[in-house]
């Protein structure tokens, strides 16, 4: 059975201790990128969330989320969810090159953050004027568990993620720039591992699409509050 991961090749790293069998895993830019590619029923195809509209072309597709694919996020999640009822203040800050209509990244991030805190109860969205550059959006979220969150986005020519958690006797601080093991201008932190993508991808089914729709509706309502 082949595993085909669709994605930006520059975003991936081959880890020294990669666990998945390499022989059957292929990293490709798109399904059209490979000549004579014939998909079999056994193939598993993993799409980034940005390519969700394309998943109809394959059987039983999977999607992976940007935030969820980063090893730093998995580490933070492991620490936060070591408390079965995490309550506190969660903050996520992105400077992003995302140029789509800007809301998908918010919905995607909220979906991923919800994997730690459960469903969002209330979302409030504040954005700068449409004609202003850079566009900046602040999303304020209350989760059903009581945790509160701020997600700040600046849409600009940079990729930076900061994550903070203030919990009960536990504080997490992460900045992609500071966690980079290489002291160069290129950021080596915001890259996926193949293992992480394979481990944290989601089958595209009605349940996933409904959860995404629910979050999208909350964000839309949060814009109008």
């Amino acid at each position: 059975m082949r595993k085909l991961i669709i994605g930006d090749l520059d975003k991936f790293t081959l880890e020294v201790n990669q666990m998945k069998e390499k022989e059957d895993t292929y990293l490709i830019r798109s399904l059209n990128d490979v000549d004579h590619l014939v998909l079999s029923h056994d193939d598993q195809v993993f799409f980034p969330m940005s390519k969700l509209p394309q998943v109809k072309s394959v059987d039983d597709p999977y999607v992976y989320f940007d935030l969820e694919s980063y090893p730093f996020f998995q580490k933070a999640k492991e620490i936060i969810t070591s408390d079965p009822h995490p309550q506190g203040v969660f903050r996520l800050r992105r400077k992003t090159r995302s140029t789509t209509t800007n809301d998908p990244i918010i919905v995607d991030d909220l979906f991923v953050v919800s994997s730690m805190f459960g469903s969002p109860k209330m979302v409030y969205v504040k954005r700068t004027a449409k004609d202003q550059s850079p566009l900046h959006i602040i999303v304020t979220v209350t989760f059903n568990c009581g945790t509160m969150a701020h997600l700040d986005y600046t849409f600009m020519d940079e990729e930076v993620i900061e994550l903070e958690w203030s919990g009960n006797k536990k504080i997490i601080e992460f900045t992609s720039m500071e966690a980079d093991p290489f002291a160069t201008k290129k950021d080596h932190t915001l890259i996926y591992s193949i293992d992480s993508v394979l481990d944290h991808s989601h089958p595209v089914n009605d349940s996933l699409l409904k959860r995404l729709d629910d979050i999208r509706n909350l964000v839309t309502r949060g814009d109008q509050r």
Partner: protein, 328 residues
């Protein structure tokens, strides 16, 4: 110049007194405190007389007072000091209601005394440098702010709402709202906030996320909390990120530190070597009194910052955004 201190209830009184002791031509002439034990202790520490009676203290010859009482007593002390013709540096928040703050401002004006509010963050070197960059147009137009002010639970009267008027959100929102107002030169018009208590078993808020909009469309997110515990490498933080049309700059007022690792007690602590912002505040207040000029941080500045913090509580209670009333 002669300065007296009214109450050492707020721990900043110790820092301000230390600053005064360092300055030439400024004399700390005494302390009034309604807590007799505390008053006697600080009198002994600073070798100054203790006045258990407020009227007797204010009848002494002095140019100015610094008020560091519980928040709820700011109003009474400011009014009494103003009537005694003493210039005033009042610890933040100015008061616990807009009406009280306005009355304090009016009475100081009637008595022709200076009312300055203690927002020492304005005297942090990196915070001032960022102000300079903004004023020079190096960031372009300001689009958004992202700020934090998080510290440890101070306990004592701070967690008694009858004396403090509010918890972490009141304590740690006013500083950064003041800085944002100072940077952008506009007023906050809209507040949405979530206020809660997570970190301590206390009957008052210790966490809050505040989302703001200014009258010119600038938006801001602010994290105010008492979420830092004693094992954290420093007491807390003061940070601001300014998103501008030309560039984005983040400033951490406490970034200038060396990391100290130790096998005893705290394994890591940040030893700050930046400038002393409390000293900057006191020097500015003294210069202001000497020169008889308008204070750099007015009672109105204090009122507007407090108004936003109070609106945050209201927004959280109502679970909706709150519009800020104009105060002229």
């Amino acid at each position: 110049m002669k300065i007296g201190i009214m109450s050492f209830a707020h721990m900043h009184a110790y820092s301000y007194s230390d600053c005064i002791m360092k300055l030439p031509n400024v004399e700390l002439i005494g302390v009034f405190d309604d807590d007799q034990k505390r008053g006697n202790e600080v009198a002994e520490q600073y070798h100054i007389p203790f006045y258990p009676d407020q009227a007797a203290f204010l009848s002494e010859e002095m140019d100015a007072v610094i008020i560091c009482s519980e928040n709820i007593h700011h109003k009474e002390m400011v009014i009494n000091a103003a009537k005694a013709k003493k210039h005033i540096l009042c610890e933040k928040p100015i008061a616990t209601s807009v009406e009280d703050a306005q009355e304090m401002i009016d009475i100081c004006k009637e008595n022709d005394v200076i009312l300055q509010i203690a927002f020492p963050v304005r005297f942090s070197s990196p915070i001032r440098k960022l102000k300079e960059l903004i004023d020079n147009g190096e960031l372009g137009e300001i689009v958004a702010f992202r700020t934090t002010n998080r510290g440890q639970n101070p306990g004592g009267w701070f967690i008694d709402e009858k004396l403090s008027g509010g918890g972490a959100v009141l304590d740690h929102t006013v500083h950064m709202v003041d800085i944002m107002r100072w940077y952008v030169g506009k007023e906050v018009t809209e507040v949405y906030a979530i206020v809660d208590s997570f970190f301590h078993d206390i009957p008052i808020d210790d966490a809050g996320l505040v989302t703001l909009e200014f009258e010119n469309g600038v938006i801001a997110s602010h994290d105010a909390s008492w979420s830092r515990f004693s094992e954290y490498p420093t007491w807390g933080d003061v940070t601001i990120e300014v998103v501008g049309t030309k560039q984005t700059i983040k400033v951490d007022a406490l970034k200038e530190h060396v990391r100290l690792f130790s096998s005893e007690g705290k394994t890591l602590s940040h030893e700050f070597f930046g400038n002393d912002m409390d000293l900057g505040l006191i020097q500015d207040f003294i210069a202001c009194v000497e020169q008889g000029r308008e204070p750099s941080i007015t009672g109105f500045d204090g009122l507007k910052a407090m108004q936003v913090a109070l609106a945050a509580y209201k927004s959280s209670r109502l679970n909706e955004k709150v519009m800020i009333e104009r105060v002229e």
